[in-house]
Symmetry: C2
Subunit: 366 residues, 2 copies
Amino acid sequence: MNKKKITELNQWLKENGAEAGYISNPATIAYFSGFKSDPHERVLALFLSPDKDPFLFAPALEVEEAKNSGWPYDVIGYLDSENPWDKISQELTSRYDLNRLALEKNDLSVERYEALKTRLPQTDFSLDMTPMIQTMQLTKTASEIDTLLEAGSWADVAFEIGFAAIKEGVSEAAIVAEIEYELKKRGVSHMSFDTTVLAGDNAASPHGVPGDRRITANELVLFDLGVIWKGYCSDATRTVAYHEPTALQRKIYDIVLEAEQTAQAAVKPGITAGELDQIARDVITSYGYGEYFNHRLGHGIGTTVHEFPSLITGNDLVIQEGMCFSIEPGIYIPDQVGVRIEDCVYVTKDGCVPFTKTTKELQILS
Amino acid sequence: MNKKKITELNQWLKENGAEAGYISNPATIAYFSGFKSDPHERVLALFLSPDKDPFLFAPALEVEEAKNSGWPYDVIGYLDSENPWDKISQELTSRYDLNRLALEKNDLSVERYEALKTRLPQTDFSLDMTPMIQTMQLTKTASEIDTLLEAGSWADVAFEIGFAAIKEGVSEAAIVAEIEYELKKRGVSHMSFDTTVLAGDNAASPHGVPGDRRITANELVLFDLGVIWKGYCSDATRTVAYHEPTALQRKIYDIVLEAEQTAQAAVKPGITAGELDQIARDVITSYGYGEYFNHRLGHGIGTTVHEFPSLITGNDLVIQEGMCFSIEPGIYIPDQVGVRIEDCVYVTKDGCVPFTKTTKELQILS
């Protein structure tokens, strides 16, 4: 349980006149309560209140595990044969003098919102906790950064496994299988997203899917991967050459690397998210490839693999110490070449430190 | 693209006075459009209309892939620097004479709903397509059943790999790694949920997580797994013994098997979902273990691993030919023994056929 963060959110709820807040996203529930669970279509909820004790609401199946997770407050269970919304609204009215219930609006479905609204017709649901939670999660504590560094070092291990698996004729999918197998054997049970290994022209699609495409000499291979470690994510990209790269491949690689390194060197408290995007974009544009960098520079990372801040031109958010995000410029020329280089970093008082340490000099494997 | 299903939903929209419907769930978008994509926090949407052409709305990054997926209508893209809700509301008002826009309320977040409502203040959003879509997906076509059979046969392959990996001292996590590695090498890129391998007392937790626990002689090992194959899911559970089971293990296994087989034999058009649950529950209760069967009998399966119908006491839904669902009774006696046996089946005109064929006689491995 993260007592400090619960207190901080409760304080905000009080200031905004809410007697309680309903956390619905399992990742956010884990962030505050320490209880990690994927309820699938069943209902898992955390209710916080500035004046009363919080409680977890969970499928009956999960109640024991929730209690054993270290959560010191009530865990209310419901059976598949019970209506969870009847039970939740009864709990809420019996525990809290409820006029205003804040929601996590970027997660809660309209169906669930309406189920609650029907049962609590006098309650005001206008307050959205999402921006406050995103702001709270924007800067990480020292202990969160330690865990993110551990998650990053597993991504470095994954690169090592993946680079070693590259051989003439091996398929992208086989390299993915090898990476995940070796990690699972070492105790990493979940990747933070589908491991991506793309060869040659496949890498020129920024959201390509690994398949039967086999590696051949003189092409680039793009690895985008990350793990979930103790509830925190890593995410990194490296592009390597299998045998000597062509002149175009080398040229594009060098431009992306320059963009990545220039942006990374510019990170410090006080610069804006939009300025960082622009710095990387300017490098790529100066070489005439601006149109082939068709996504934002980066995204925040933490308990989820994509969170705030969004590094994109126009975002005036001021970077602060403790923020954690990706820097991942790329150039994708359809049917020709695709290169992306990515590290996630945390912001220090005068710069930043990457969570992943795998070299960014072009690796030429054989 | 599933033209027939689009027409069916459009007909329903027309009957309910909606000029358009907004499909927001990526699995449902794939079901209707044929375009499979996980947009993460970006916006992917399918808009259907009874009177006008439908269109897909996608991140700019995905537009090419959407067009190449066989979708014959417009694909509207948006850049990370654009507001998708401005663009969607402009598209909607320019294309449709919009008074009522139906939503997929079990998927759409309150945040997105409010973003749309703010921009379309005159539009009525009361109509929920969820029940209609769930009903449409409740009975599967012959071609969907063929794909589900293929997905099921991959689950059988997975059991075979998993059973072969059981050895003295091997960990649950290592068996999971082995299963997924072998499947990935054979072209199965995604499991339909986290592969579960639980040994001994760990299996007595119905939602346990595989870890370092090592297999030892004379204990039961529970496998719950499934794959995604051509967009359709499998899901099956087998419990096997490593060396001779104890008398209690054997007894509990036999009771669960009797419950599973009795319920499976009772499946036919006309019976209700609740009656099937009760039939399995009665078997287990008759032996005095009713309190240890603490979940519903089963759930529907299709493009998602948990969908309608829900097989639970009190559900009066009448089973019909073409419905597909799991039958998965279990007995979990904490710290002692856990057994679950599960097949997903499809309903025929006078019975049902399982998608998975791995024997349910107790396997004693050594």
